[in-house]
Symmetry: C2
């Protein structure tokens, strides 16, 4: 059986190291014990948009990483890749219909109710932009609300949907970046959850593998 290939960048600056999204895929693959190899494409700033070669855009139309190749099929978007892997290992997603649906629901909640707000917020944090314009006030208020609601959920359960799953890989990785910019100050359950998730051996392996991968090209 040919191994799956995870493609990421060959190098990134220090700031995003440990946060590039191939980490989510590495983490899932490690949790599931699925063999894989890593391939690289050259680092190019994605903003402003650059014309990448057509071959790469055919594999990842938004000029991002990661993507996963399995046999002849290529899957991009970390959420789609994790769902794909979830179908291949009960360590990532249960097969029972309702339990599986709960995991899928929380996959979307992590990405679309939390990250869709925390990602732009972190863009402002990365830029060191603290100016409280009307739109920014609204963005900050929504993030605060989303963290508040996530806190209420996590105060009452260890993992989002029964056992540890791909939903937790995504939610923990999303909250980890919020925490980096001190956005979990009022959310002890979220902080505990991030600590528990990132304390798993599969995360540690994925993280050190990503750091080593980028360091190779320094």
């Amino acid at each position: 059986m040919p191994e799956m290939t995870l493609t990421t960048l060959n190098w990134v600056p220090d700031l995003p190291r440990g946060y590039v999204r191939d980490l989510r895929v590495r983490w899932a693959l490690e949790e599931a014990g699925l063999p894989y190899r890593v391939a690289s494409v050259p680092f190019t700033p994605s903003v402003p948009s650059r014309e990448l070669d057509a071959g790469q855009l055919a594999l990842q139309p938004y000029a991002q990483v990661p993507w996963l190749t399995d046999g002849g099929q290529t899957i991009f978007e970390s959420g789609a890749i994790l769902l794909y892997l979830g179908e291949r290992s009960t360590a990532l997603m249960p097969t029972e219909r309702r339990a599986r649906q709960d995991v899928i629901t929380w996959v979307f909640a992590a990405l679309n109710s939390v990250e869709a707000i925390s990602l732009p917020w972190s863009i402002y944090q990365f830029a060191g932009d603290t100016e409280q314009t009307p739109g920014r006030k609204h963005l900050d208020a929504i993030l605060k609300a989303r963290v508040h609601y996530t806190e209420q959920v996590l105060a009452g359960r260890e993992w989002l949907a029964g056992a540890f799953s791909i939903a937790d890989i995504l939610m923990a990785d999303v909250l980890r970046l919020v925490h980096r910019f001190d956005g979990l100050a009022d959310a002890p359950a979220c902080r505990g959850y991030v600590e528990a998730a990132t304390g798993r051996p599969a995360f540690a392996q994925a993280y050190s593998d990503q750091m080593a991968h980028f360091a190779k090209a320094d």
Copy 2:
């Protein structure tokens, strides 16, 4: 067989009418010809966060709409609901393994490569906030890049993943809001795609049903 129940708000102000996300679910249900009924919960501003009753938060932990109830199961997040419906109708998602995976990949791309940027951008547009702070410049540049890449894809195909699918419902609905704020000025293929998607009878039905639903409570 009990019908599915779609829950939305009983009323919203004029500005978001036609854009509340129950539209995506109505649209999918209409495309598939699946019977459903609509239920309502009272309108409450979601920011700043309010304590909703625990029963409602158990169904939608982020105090948002919509959610879908089917038998004893409740699914929230429009992306998760559409994927759930996609498994029930080939009018929404093919069953062949690779074609199905392409649809799922584009579902995530619509929500996470486009909407995760266009949503915060639209928050600024709704707030009338045009101040070009460093973070805002970065946000605008990323949106521009994401529209650019989407334009390259849509210039070469009618629908995202072969036949019309849930991925198109999501991408078209996401781009529709960008277009409302004139964000597709340089993207003729995106504009044509939105026009083709929203020209479908199922969209027209879903849209007029949502407008009528909110008008009832005026």
